[in-house]
């Protein structure tokens, strides 16, 4: 892998660190498996790109993209909480609807941002080559957001949100309004994912109606890889592991696609993704079984 493609991989890994944080919020904190992210990632990109193209300030456009994502999360939460639609199904409905909405927002399947200003424009003349400047900018953004999220989860409000995911009845008995926390959590999660979409569109110079496909798998992969490698209960470490997991996942994919002896090409991406996520899920289980077997063997040896 060349330095250039490594920096590119790092940049995308960092951006998807935001997706991983969003997925961590829904899957792990709220125990609400949410597939809306496939749509809200694109929505963030589409809204931001459409606004930038129409001449709006890129920072304001990015903010609008985030808010649009948050609204998508609220819709999913509403379908689940108000009408008792299964969370997974509710999120699939929103995701499906978003596909059309994204096309409408952009007006066509693909919007290019080659000549338009982006959030990166103010930093372009500072002398650092784009190849380094882009991952640095994205990295600072993602780490700042990560720290804020970790701090948020340690506040009374954040703690209440975690309690809702861990034990609803206990949360209620302690005066926590469950529904409100689910709404807030899904809004926050999809807002983060939409921010990732907005940054992706601006660093790569386009928004595309199909760019969100598989976002959920990538996010989940990052969370699981991170959890497997850095298991910690410290909030900051957990969020950090989401980002690290996302980068490592990207590097693994990049390595698999680039290694000639494996014979993969770019169209094999989804199979590699599935294999990697499967491996990350299976390994902790196998390790546990192996350890149990060893312990049993030791115990038997002691008796003999």
């Amino acid at each position: 892998m060349s330095l250039f493609s490594f920096m590119g991989t790092l940049e995308i890994g960092l951006i998807f660190g935001l997706v991983a944080m969003g997925v961590y919020l829904t899957f792990r904190v709220l125990d609400f498996p949410d597939l809306t992210v496939d749509g809200s990632f694109t929505l963030g990109a589409a809204v931001t790109a459409a606004l930038i193209v129409s001449g709006i300030n890129p920072y304001l456009s990015t903010l609008a993209g985030c808010l649009a994502g948050a609204v998508a999360g609220v819709v999913t939460a509403w379908l689940n909480l108000r009408f008792n639609i299964l969370h997974l199904l509710a999120s699939i409905l929103t995701m499906t609807a978003l596909y059309t909405i994204n096309l409408r927002v952009m007006g066509k399947p693909n919007l290019a941002l080659i000549t338009d200003p982006t959030v990166l424009t103010p930093f372009e003349g500072l002398g650092l080559p784009n190849m380094y400047m882009k991952p640095l900018f994205v990295g600072i953004c993602v780490i700042a957001v990560g720290i804020l999220l970790a701090l948020f989860l340690k506040t009374q409000y954040g703690l209440a949100m975690r309690a809702v995911g861990a034990n609803k009845r206990m949360a209620q008995a302690n005066g926590i309004v469950v529904k409100e926390k689910v709404y807030a959590g899904l809004a926050l999660s999809n807002g983060l994912v939409a921010l990732a979409g907005a940054l992706f569109a601006q660093t790569n110079g386009f928004a595309d109606s199909t760019m969100g496909i598989g976002t959920i798998v990538v996010g989940l992969a990052a969370v699981i890889v991170g959890e497997t490698l850095l298991s910690s209960r410290k909030m900051l470490m957990i969020i950090f592991s989401c980002i690290v997991g996302s980068i490592l996942y990207r590097l693994a994919i990049g390595f698999a696609l680039n290694a000639d002896f494996l014979g993969f090409n770019a169209s094999d991406l989804n199979l590699i993704t599935a294999l990697l996520v499967g491996l990350a899920l299976v390994l902790p289980q196998l390790r546990k079984e192996w350890k149990a077997k060893q312990a049993a063997a030791r115990a038997n040896g002691g008796d003999a």
Partner: protein, 267 residues
């Protein structure tokens, strides 16, 4: 303090599975009274407690705390007045969160939703002090995950959590039933301490006739959704477990044999 007027709760109303769990309960518990509630399975004990807590909406009648009509207020809105401990030791705490985080949740009861940090050294000191009352060594395990504690330890922490915030009503739903006798005794001991200290109004559901007579100053017996017996004062102090068992048999229809081990053992 707690008043129920013609309180009715019906599950699955209008369906073939309709069940009238409470059929017009009238009850007045003055401030600071400790009431034990007994009755066979399905008598409506837990339903009564859940209705007072707000977990189950009333189908008819009224529930009042003092002069305040709380019938329409959901459980989360009643937590300023009501604290509770569940039967299942796992139900009262979050397994994936630490001891101190669980306690911080209970500490925030009634003042929810702030963006200030949930934990600080001052709070940890309070939690440590409280935990040391248990003599279980938990004061040194503030950052242990709740799921790593035994059922008895978790129930002990739940009990402390219920008393972290000032409340006037404590609802105990067979909170020692799932514990071994030694731990159960410890928990009852601490419950009694806390109740006396804070002069709480208490409703305690129990299957143990012994507990029902030994604790509190009044005993209610429920049968098929109604209060069939209300025992207090001198009457109650003259009662023995065997007398209660006789009442039970009577409520069940006289000649019906007692088949519930717990009732026979009366422990």
């Amino acid at each position: 303090m707690i008043r129920c007027e013609q309180l009715r709760v019906t599950f699955n109303a209008g369906l073939p599975t309709e069940k009238k769990a409470l059929r017009g309960v009238n009850l007045e518990i003055p401030q600071g009274e400790f009431v034990t509630v007994i009755g066979s399975n399905g008598a409506g004990k837990s339903t009564l407690l859940n209705a007072v807590a707000g977990d189950i909406p009333a189908s008819g009648g009224k529930i009042l705390f003092g002069d305040k009509d709380v019938t329409k207020i959901p459980a989360t809105g009643r937590t300023k007045e009501v604290a509770r401990v569940f039967q299942d030791p796992l139900a009262g705490t979050c397994a994936t969160m630490t001891v101190e985080e669980n306690m911080a949740l209970a500490y925030g009861r009634g003042s929810r939703g702030k963006l200030s940090f949930a934990l600080n050294d001052n709070l940890r000191k309070i939690f440590r002090e409280q935990l040391s009352r248990l003599n279980l060594g938990l004061e040194n395990r503030l950052d242990a995950e709740m799921g790593l504690l035994s059922g008895g330890q978790r129930q002990s922490v739940s009990l402390l959590m219920s008393a972290l915030q000032p409340s006037s009503i404590l609802l105990l739903d067979e909170h020692t039933a799932a514990l071994d006798p030694k731990t159960a005794a410890l928990i009852m001991d601490i419950s009694a301490q806390i109740i006396a200290e804070k002069q709480l109004t208490v409703m305690m559901v129990t299957h143990s006739m012994r507990q029902a007579l030994d604790f509190g100053s009044r005993t209610l017996m429920l049968h098929e959704g109604k209060i069939v017996f209300d025992l207090s004062g001198e009457d109650r102090s003259n009662y023995e477990v065997s007398d209660l068992l006789e009442l039970f048999a009577k409520a069940r229809g006289g000649d019906e044999a007692l088949d519930d081990d717990k009732l026979l053992l009366g422990s």
